[in-house]
């Protein structure tokens, strides 16, 4: 689907959801819940926190969707701002309560064979460990662009920055990740082939 038709279908879906259509709300949830989950997972490294917090984000979406305006931001940018705020709020609480969220040992990965699964987990753990050492803005760009799959324009709106700025931050983040992770070794073939 092209970005334009994707945006058009998002608009129809969000407008129907604002009108209270259960079908549209359900579709919106199924479309965005995994992306919000991956974003939070990329920021926290904890699957349980990611599941719970992603659920909370959607409850906040329900509260606020009546006030959502297309002219202010694309829906994805608006949604991930809510997710980011929820994350910050959660972190504040965890800090106040002295709770730390350790990285989950086994990250759930949808993969085919056991070998691929192990390799996938290794790569993911390596990426998340390295990303933890990045400055905040770079971590945020990595989480939004690569975990949540937002476009540069959406990432820029979600972070309240210019697109050019996001591209620069992304470049720096990737260069740093490369330094930390070393030259990527053999990766599952899917990374190097064209996406269907």
């Amino acid at each position: 689907m092209s970005p334009n038709s994707e945006a058009q279908s998002d608009r129809l879906l969000v407008d129907a959801a604002k009108d209270g259509s259960q079908q549209a709300l359900s579709e919106l949830y199924l479309l965005y819940y995994p992306r919000v989950y991956r974003y939070i997972l990329a920021r926290t490294g904890n699957t349980y926190d990611a599941e719970d917090l992603a659920e909370e984000v959607f409850m906040k979406v329900l509260e606020a969707i009546d006030r959502f305006q297309w002219r202010e931001a694309p829906f994805a940018a608006w949604l991930f701002r809510i997710a980011h705020n929820a994350l910050i709020s959660q972190r504040r609480k965890d800090t106040a309560r002295g709770k730390s969220a350790p990285l989950t040992d086994g990250l759930p990965v949808d993969s085919a064979g056991p070998e691929e699964l192990v390799e996938h987990r290794l790569v993911l753990n390596e990426v998340m460990d390295a990303a933890k050492k990045l400055p905040e803005a770079q971590r945020q760009v990595i989480a939004l662009r690569f975990a949540a799959g937002l476009s540069v324009a959406e990432t820029a709106r979600a972070m309240n920055k210019g697109e050019g700025n996001v591209k620069v931050i992304q470049h720096k983040a990737i260069a740093k990740l490369r330094e930390m992770m070393g030259q990527p070794k053999k990766r599952p073939k899917v990374y190097e082939s064209k996406k269907a």
Binding site: P108, F146, P184
Partner: protein
């Protein structure tokens, strides 16, 4: 021609790959002069993308979240519809809620007017003006102050329940708007921070239990057809919120000495789970008789005899 900066080329290649327009090799072939710089960056970027691509939440978590999301959406939509329905009658409802106060104020104003007229006409009967103090604006104070460390949503609900309970016990009518506000306050618990709820789970459980009991008492003592859909909605919301929060509500013992409302087409069935052993008995409610509403006293103008 403007020379593209590396970050722009990198982004262009990442997007092209993500949208399935170009492979890594095709992108590198497009920028042969930058290959040595671009290739490691692009490989790293694609590696990061790929590492997240297969990550997914568990089916159970996704389903649980979807159920909660949709049930909350339904409850909100029902409340919105009910609010729209009752909007027209809002002013009369609001007036009915405070009619005792308005009536008292009317009496007081009349008395003052009489006193002034007596004084200005030189009657000087030796009696001072009536003291209207306390009659105006006697709104029900909160029956219990919430604990300071209680989350706002919980204390708000507790406050509303206490206020409604107090008024019901005094034989006052609980209006549709107030029932809807109770329902909304309970609904807020669903979207409240889960840690806050867990932190004050005892108060939350107590509040939901009290609300459930209160609603049953409203049904028992206030069989007005107009309020029944709102009560039913609030009962469903209460049970739904309790279910989402993992709280089991015990069914209160039915009030036996309360005359049951006569069956009618508008009668709302009360949710009747089997009474659990040791279920708390609801507080005795005030006599279910109709509360006499003081009619505004007609202004009696006493003219001085000339």
């Amino acid at each position: 021609m403007r020379v593209k900066r590396l970050e722009e080329i990198l982004e262009e290649c990442v997007s092209a790959h993500a949208e399935g327009r170009r492979s890594l090799a095709e992108s590198l072939a497009l920028y042969p002069g930058l290959r040595s710089e671009l290739e490691p960056l692009l490989r790293t970027a694609l590696s990061v993308t790929g590492s997240f691509a297969g990550v997914a939440p568990s089916d159970a978590a996704a389903q649980r979240g979807l159920n909660r999301f949709l049930s909350d959406a339904r409850a909100r939509s029902n409340l919105k519809a009910m609010n729209a329905q009752t909007k027209r009658g809002w002013f009369s409802g609001a007036f009915a809620q405070y009619r005792t106060s308005f009536a008292a104020a009317a009496v007081a104003v009349t008395a003052v007017a009489v006193a002034i007229s007596v004084a200005s006409f030189g009657g000087g009967g030796g009696e001072g003006p009536n003291d209207p103090g306390g009659a105006v604006g006697a709104l029900t104070p909160p029956a219990s102050a919430p604990a300071t460390d209680t989350p706002e949503v919980v204390s708000d609900l507790t406050h509303r329940i206490a206020s409604a309970r107090d008024r019901l016990n005094r034989g006052e009518t609980i209006e549709i708007e107030e029932i809807q506000q109770l329902s909304l306050a309970a609904l807020q618990l669903k979207s409240a921070d889960r840690d806050d709820i867990d932190f004050s789970i005892t108060q939350v459980t107590q509040a939901l239990q009290n609300l459930d009991t209160l609603l049953q008492d409203i049904v028992a003592t206030q069989p007005a057809v107009a309020t029944q859909p709102a009560v039913q909605e609030a009962q469903e919301t209460t049970r739904d919120v309790a279910g989402v929060l993992g709280i089991e509500l015990s069914s209160p013992t039915p009030v036996v000495d309360t005359p049951a409302p006569t069956s009618g087409p508008g009668e709302t069935p009360v949710i009747t789970d089997a009474p659990a052993t040791g279920a708390p008995t609801p507080e005795p409610t005030a006599a279910p008789t109709e509360v006499p509403t003081p009619e505004p006293t007609p202004t009696e103008i006493v003219r001085p005899v000339s």
